[in-house]
């Protein structure tokens, strides 16, 4: 009841404010007059009585203020008052206000922008029902150093039947040719079991998805298409359901259209942007007959049963794995240490960008912090100019609490204004900003300025406002009244304490900037090293286009089924390519042969037998296999070390030959000579028993075709005339017209086979640049942050030294009058700045040592504690500090001793 009373009374006090004020006036006036009357009655002269009554009553205004306080009105009251006063103060110094608001706007805007990405990728659960139940299922063979090797069909069936999961879905897929429209198109498809969409839990916008109970071993010849394909390829046809499309020569019926904005939880942009889903049991053609150790399913996802956590599910999977190992000792040899790992799906989708994103968020947060410290510094300078104002207000009876809250309000006002400006800029620049971000970043389409992001921005605003409102407020809380009031018109308290605070702030700023700059420096050096690394192949003047040979479900109808069938097509393509203007060399390879242009997933553990022993069981089987035409090595500039390269004669009638790189040779024949060695590779269906023996004929130098950061991945090359590949890249070298070549190549390809799509035209230089896009992005971002930080730190030290100089004008005048040399004066000023810079650098170096170790995973070719970077950045920072101090030092020189002395 009391609470209700208080609320009512407060509300009345707030809304009936003018009435309450009037009442209070009348009431107090009545009191004083009544008392005066009494005094008169007691014999005090009337003239004296009124005055005496007032004096004895005490401060009327103070009593009123306390009455307002008692009503709980004062908080809002003083808040609006502070607010109005703050706005007035800020408008009085537009220059300062503009700089402060702009700094905050940039800080809050950038921090919020990065946070919105972090929010969408790391914090938001995946956009499917009950995302916490979704896991990726990964097979590892840690005994042979192989992780995530894919799962086999029998293993999938075991997991599906185990009761641990509601559903388990392997995901295959890749490219498929969509023919029938004006141009044959290549689209990304996913081959999934019929239970896939039941597992994901997303309904189509049109039609239906697959029937989870469908037991067809091969493809069901039903397709679900994405909203994008529906709208672009089929023009949003409302009668799309039931329509048949030809995909790699097979007719599929479209049964459903997924909603706009639906994306698969894939690891790569291609996996996430699947355009069509086809259902299959993975057990009929074109899939090979299921075998336990034939891990044809590159990845699998699962939804764990209700009531199970990932941990409990994992322990039950472990038990299942143990019993299967006992049951099938031949398929699961002990030394490979087979295990099945459940990974939250969110983690696999986000992948390794987590570290980069956290680095970026940390970096931008540091910039914001430095900006805050800078503004705190500016405010502190202003607070000293306002010292007299504060002192007078306090002398007139303002409580400290009141002064502090007023200064805090001003700080919050600034950060609020800056934050709003920042958010508005962000809102309008969002589209542009998202374009800067590399496409490979997962879940970009989910980035949005939502409530979480706004809440974050608000928190950032409040914290920043608190940070830079607090410094002057704390200072104002204990001014030396007498001193401040005595400073006739100087308008400055210049107390030692305040200066100390400002120095600490500048040192902080320097330390933080140094940390950021060292991070940027290390990333820049890594990037630079990667740019200038000798990749072992030549990207200049090379262009590649891709094509895809159809894989019909019935192998009998495949016109490129064997190497003997495919080779004529390849030879014809090469012959035609040579006739194009400017083209000097032509070669064809599979996608894995496109240097830096294929996914890391291509690096499959390839099952092979070397000299009678199974490689999988004895050695790490991580080998990258490429299939290339003879001219490939010369075209991309890979150098032969020993033996020979492929020739035109290495066709399907000749003995099988292979070229390996030095890493392969080192791995498998560390002591012996690899030339002439035999190995047996499983065929496309994993069938190894009657696979032909392949002879190693040549060794080439290692090349960084997988990633610029990796030196030696074992590689084996096979001849395209002896082994087929469907996913082809056509390479041309010469003085090329990069605009015309893709069109000309398409013409030539389609003159040979009009059903083939031609896509993905890129120069190898572009491919190489693109392979660094994520690194470039984080390097550029952190670099930008570091530059901003440097600028802010420079401004900060400039402000403090300027202030010091103006404080010491008098002293400098005396010194000069007494004959001090100009350079002595300059040295005196610079020494002060240098002291601050060195202190800041020392603190910063210590912090940077910790930070750089945390980001070791993002570095290449440079140690986290790289002395060159550390020293260089520290020197740069000190140089900037000296420069910033030199300007006020020059001003100090211009001090006219006469003027300075008269000034007092």
């Amino acid at each position: 009841m009391t609470l209700w009373n208080e609320v009512r009374s407060s509300l009345r006090a707030i809304f009936g404010r003018s009435r309450m004020e009037r009442d209070m006036d009348v009431e107090l006036k009545f009191h004083i007059e009544a008392y005066a009357e009494d005094l008169v009655r007691r014999g005090v002269p009337r003239a004296v009585a009124m005055r005496r009554a007032r004096v004895e009553f005490g401060g009327v205004e103070r009593a009123k203020e306390e009455c307002r306080d008692a009503r709980g009105v004062s908080f809002f009251e003083s808040l609006t008052q502070d607010f109005r006063y703050g706005v007035r103060m800020l408008r009085k110094s537009p220059g300062f206000t503009a700089i402060a608001i702009l700094t905050i706007a940039l800080g809050i805007g950038a921090t919020t922008a990065i946070f919105s990405i972090v929010d969408a990728t790391l914090l938001h659960p995946l956009p499917y029902p009950h995302p916490e139940q979704l896991v990726a299922v990964e097979d590892d063979l840690p005994g042979v150093g192989a992780l995530d090797v894919g799962i086999s069909v029998p293993e999938w069936h075991d997991l599906q039947r185990s009761g641990i999961f509601q559903n388990v879905s392997p995901i295959g897929g890749g490219s498929v040719n969509l023919t029938g429209s004006s141009q044959p198109a290549r689209i990304f498809f996913a081959a999934v079991p019929p239970n896939y969409f039941a597992l994901i839990g997303v309904k189509p916008q049109l039609g239906r998805t697959f029937d989870p109970g469908d037991q067809t071993p091969g493809f069901t010849l039903e397709g679900v298409i994405s909203d994008g394909v529906w709208k672009t390829t089929f023009g949003g046809d409302p009668h799309i359901l039931g329509r048949s499309v030809r995909l790699d020569n097979d007719l599929y019926q479209i049964v459903g259209v997924m909603p706009a904005g639906y994306h698969d939880p894939g690891r790569t942009p291609e996996d996430r942007n699947v355009e069509m889903w086809m259902a299959t049991g993975f057990a009929g053609p074109p899939a090979p007959p299921p075998e336990r150790n034939l891990r044809i399913l590159p990845q699998a996802i699962a939804r764990i049963s209700d009531g199970l956590t990932i941990q409990t599910a994992q322990s039950r999977v472990d038990a299942l794995v143990a019993s299967l190992q006992k049951q099938f000792p031949v398929d699961y040899p002990e030394q490979s240490a087979w295990r099945v790992r459940l990974v939250p799906l969110q983690e696999t989708v986000v992948g390794d960008v987590r570290q980069s994103l956290i680095l970026l968020l940390g970096g931008v947060g540091l910039v914001l912090l430095i900006g805050c410290v800078n503004i705190a510094n500016l405010l502190l300078a202003r607070a000293s100019a306002r010292g007299r104002e504060m002192a007078i207000r306090q002398a007139l009876g303002a409580s400290r609490k009141r002064l502090v809250s007023q200064l805090m309000t001003e700080g919050l006002l600034l950060s609020l204004a800056g934050g709003i400006v920042g958010l508005v800029i962000l809102y309008f620049a969002k589209g542009f900003l998202l374009q800067i971000v590399p496409d490979s970043l997962p879940r970009l389409n989910e980035v949005a300025i939502n409530w979480t992001v706004l809440l974050f921005a608000l928190a950032a605003i409040v914290v920043s406002g608190g940070i830079f409102g607090l410094a002057p407020a704390l200072h104002a809380a204990r001014p030396d009244l007498t001193y401040a009031l005595k400073q006739e018109g100087r308008g400055s308290t210049g107390s030692g304490e305040q200066l100390r605070t400002r120095r600490v702030l500048v040192v902080t700023e320097f330390a933080l900037s140094l940390v950021l700059m060292i991070a940027a420096g290390l990333l820049l050096r890594s990037f630079w090293d990667l740019l200038n690394v000798r990749p072992g192949f030549n990207t200049e003047n090379v262009m590649a286009v891709r094509t895809w040979l159809p894989v019909p479900n019935d192998p009998e109808t495949d016109i490129y089924r064997t190497a003997a069938q495919e080779a004529p097509f390849i030879r014809e393509l090469i012959r035609r390519g040579r006739t194009l203007p400017g083209v000097q060399e032509v070669a064809v390879g599979d996608l894995a042969a496109l240097p830096l242009g294929h996914d890391r997933n291509d690096l499959n553990p390839y099952l092979m037998t070397i000299g009678g022993r199974e490689a999988q069981n004895s050695l790490p089987p991580l080998v990258n296999m490429s299939i290339v035409s003879p001219g490939y090595f010369h075209l991309v500039g890979m150098t032969l070390q020993r033996g020979r390269l492929f020739g035109d004669a290495d066709d399907d009638k000749a003995p099988r030959v292979a070229v390996i790189n030095e890493a392969f040779a080192r791995t498998y024949w560390p002591d012996g000579d690899p030339l002439g060695q035999h190995l047996q590779l499983n065929d496309a269906h994993g069938n190894r028993t009657n696979a032909p023996w392949t002879t190693v004929v040549g060794v080439i130098a290692d090349a960084r075709t997988e990633s610029l950061a990796e030196t030696s991945v074992p590689q084996i090359f096979l001849s395209l005339y002896q082994k087929t590949s469907k996913d082809l890249a056509v390479f041309v070298r010469g003085r090329l017209d990069t605009a015309a070549i893709p069109v000309q190549l398409r013409e030539q390809v389609q003159l040979v086979n009009p059903e083939l799509p031609v896509f993905g035209a890129q120069t190898l230089d572009e491919v190489r640049t693109a392979s660094l896009s994520e690194r470039r992005f984080s390097m550029e971002m952190v670099g930008l942050f570091a530059l901003t930080a440097l600028l802010l730190a420079g401004l900060g030290i400039y402000g403090v030294i300027s202030y010091l100089v103006s404080e010491r004008t008098h002293e400098i005048g005396i010194r000069m009058a007494l004959g001090a040399q100009r350079r002595n004066i300059v040295r005196m000023v610079l020494r002060q700045g240098l002291g601050l810079a060195i202190a800041g650098a020392a603190v910063g170096l210590a912090c940077a040592l910790i930070v750089s170790r945390l980001m070791a995973g993002l570095l290449y070719g440079v140690r986290p504690a790289d002395p060159l970077t550390f020293a260089g950045v520290a020197l740069l920072l000190i140089g900037v500090a000296l420069l910033a101090c030199y300007i006020p030092a020059r001003r100090a020189l211009r001090v006219d001793p006469l003027v300075a002395l008269r000034y007092e």
């Binding site: 009391t2 209070m24 009348v26 009431e27 009545f30 009544a34 009357e37 009553f57 009593a63 008692a70």
Partner: protein, 137 residues
């Protein structure tokens, strides 16, 4: 010595100091809030009073031994009204002027009783302690 009491009934002694030069003699006891609240409640429990009347009544009952700082009276009144222990309405004063009269509410009456009991208990204890002789210890 000035007797300072706060809301909780804790005691504190601070060295006396002349608070108002000249006009009153420092022999009178000076009260601060807390006890002041209780005394106001008591004063208005005897009948509605305006602010000045509260002051007079307390001083009168105490036989002019208590002096209330006039400025502190009104914040106390506002606080008590805010808490709902007294209520106010406008009326006519004895010399026919508009004045705000305060009266005790039901909640205020309970509060007064509580405060009075607490006070009595406390003063008993204190008196007991102060009255102790060496034989009793």
């Amino acid at each position: 010595m000035l007797l300072l009491l706060d809301n909780l009934g804790d005691w504190d002694y601070i060295p006396s100091q002349s608070r108002r030069g000249g006009y009153t003699v420092g022999k009178q006891l000076d009260l601060l809030q807390g006890t002041l609240d209780m005394l106001i409640l008591k004063a208005v429990s005897l009948g509605p009073l305006h602010g000045y009347g509260v002051l007079l009544r307390i001083e009168q009952i105490s036989g002019d031994r208590l002096e209330i700082q006039q400025g502190s009276l009104y914040p106390a009144l506002y606080r008590l009204e805010h808490q709902g222990w007294i209520a106010s309405e406008w009326g006519e004063s004895e010399n026919n002027r508009r004045a705000k009269f305060y009266r005790l509410t039901a909640a205020g009456r309970r509060r007064l009783q509580l405060e009075a009991e607490k006070w009595n208990r406390m003063s008993d204890v204190i008196a007991g302690i102060l009255g102790a002789t060496s034989e009793e210890v």
